[in-house]
Amino acid sequence: MNEDLDDMAAAEPLAGEELERMLARYARVRLDSSQAQARRARAVVMEEAWRRRIAATPAARRPRHGLFGGWSARRLGVSLAAATLAGLLLGTSAFAASRAGGPLYEARLSLEELTLPAEPAARIDAQLTAAQARLAEAVDASGRHDDVATVAALDAYDRVIDEVMSASGPAAERALVAVQVHHDVLLQVAGSVPAAAANGIERALANSERVIERLSSTVADSGNGNGNGNGNGNGQPGAGGGKPVVTGDPTAKPGKPAEPRATPKPDKTPKPHPTPSPRGKDDGNRQPAPSRAAP
């Protein structure tokens, strides 16, 4: 502000030293936010920014067929039971007991776990949603200075992301982005948790860092795996039959004889061949293209 004024040309109306000082002090004393406010606002805004980023990834926009299209009968059944129980809980004061740290909290989490889909990618997505919910409970409890609830929610969070660690493929990428957001949020909360929950938050931070590392290497490996797979196949056209191996298996041996047998094309080409070759099937197998062009 003051620097701006100094830089202005002579035409700039200057306030003068005393008025400037008074206005600056007024702004500092009455208009500035507290650090806690700034931290809270940053957590909210960054969560929104990451949520948009995650929503913008193609995998997250995967279409669903029907409202419960991707649900198995078992999952539907358990969900119905969970919904019924939730309804009952809602109808009684026991609902409060299922909040983080409450006596029914673990029961609610177990019930939620039962509703997780069996299909791996969908399961990871559901676990990420659950981890987000546990984190929100921890932040909420921390804001209420409820250390028991904070610790309970953080413990539950740790358990969920332990399972997320097994994600692979596109689900691992989504999980990585999400857990990075969680880590960011945990860092923001770390300064304001009740003292009794300090260990819990440190554990959650360490755990999320471990998961981030693991997922990062999974994501990196899946990228490298494809590259290596292509390389192996291309590198050995004579021995491997000329067809690139796209399995991405880094352990695949280049000279393995099984690979060319798996390609059906060479077997089919000799049949429509109009000119009989004196060398027989072997030539037909190896040079299908020139023989087709010969007539």
């Binding site: 502000m1 701006d4 202005m8 002579a10 035409a11 700039e12 109306p13 200057l14 306030a15 003068g16 030293e17 005393e18 008025l19 400037e20 008074m22 206005l23 600056a24 002090r25 007024y26 702004a27 500092r28 004393v29 009455r30 208009l31 500035d32 936010s33 507290s34 406010q37 700034a38 809270r40 606002a41 940053r42 909210v44 805004v45 960054m46 929104e48 920014a49 990451w50 948009r52 980023r53 913008a56 957001v181």
Partner: protein
């Protein structure tokens, strides 16, 4: 956090591509000034906190549609902030005043210093209230939010010269109100200050 205009443009470009960290850098740079501007306009701390968050969430939504075209990002962001405040005041029943309840005095001030500080702050608040709404907004944008005259002009939808004129008259009024001597050397003549 202080970053130059070039860095801001770089962060804006990356944030438009969906980079949350770039948006975080913009948040860190602009949060304080936006908070000050909104606090000056709405007064109530809880409203200020909510509205400041809302400005950045709206910026996140609108950022893909933002095109520089010579308009500084700060001007664009504060225009959003201004609209958020206008909507808020419109929908709130009671009138927004400059009454401020939150104070953050320096930690080492003694009771006498605090009393003196409070007195001074009340005087400034009173002097600000006596300005015209446009003069007050010019002061809020230039002195509290730290915008350039060009950015303030963009926010208020006025000419740059008009902003300087408003600022000139506001400074004169504040000096008179606060009993500050008015040395002629400190107030150079302003060109193009017609409203």
């Amino acid at each position: 956090m202080t970053i130059d205009d070039e860095a801001i443009e770089r962060f804006v470009g990356a944030a438009r591509q969906g980079d949350p960290d770039a948006f975080g850098a913009l948040f860190d740079h602009f949060y304080g000034p936006v908070h000050r501007y909104i606090a000056a306009r709405v007064g109530r701390p809880s409203d200020t906190e909510d509205l400041t968050q809302l400005v950045f969430v709206k910026a996140l939504e609108a950022l893909p549609r933002y095109e520089s075209r010579g308009i500084p990002f700060g001007g664009w962001l504060f225009r959003l902030a201004r609209n958020v405040v206008i909507d808020h005041v419109r929908t709130r029943r009671e009138h927004a005043t400059l009454e401020v309840v939150a104070e953050r005095p320096d930690g080492e001030d003694g009771p006498d210093d605090l009393a003196q500080l409070r007195q001074e702050m009340d005087s400034v608040a009173r002097a600000l209230r006596r300005l015209t709404p446009e003069q007050r907004e010019a002061i809020e944008l230039r002195f509290f939010a730290g915008l350039s005259a060009k950015e303030a002009a963009e926010v208020m939808g006025r000419q740059e010269g008009t902003i300087r004129g408003l600022q000139f008259r506001a400074i004169g009024a504040l000096r008179r109100e606060l009993g500050i001597n008015d040395p002629a050397s400190e107030l150079p003549r302003v060109s193009g200050t017609t409203r």
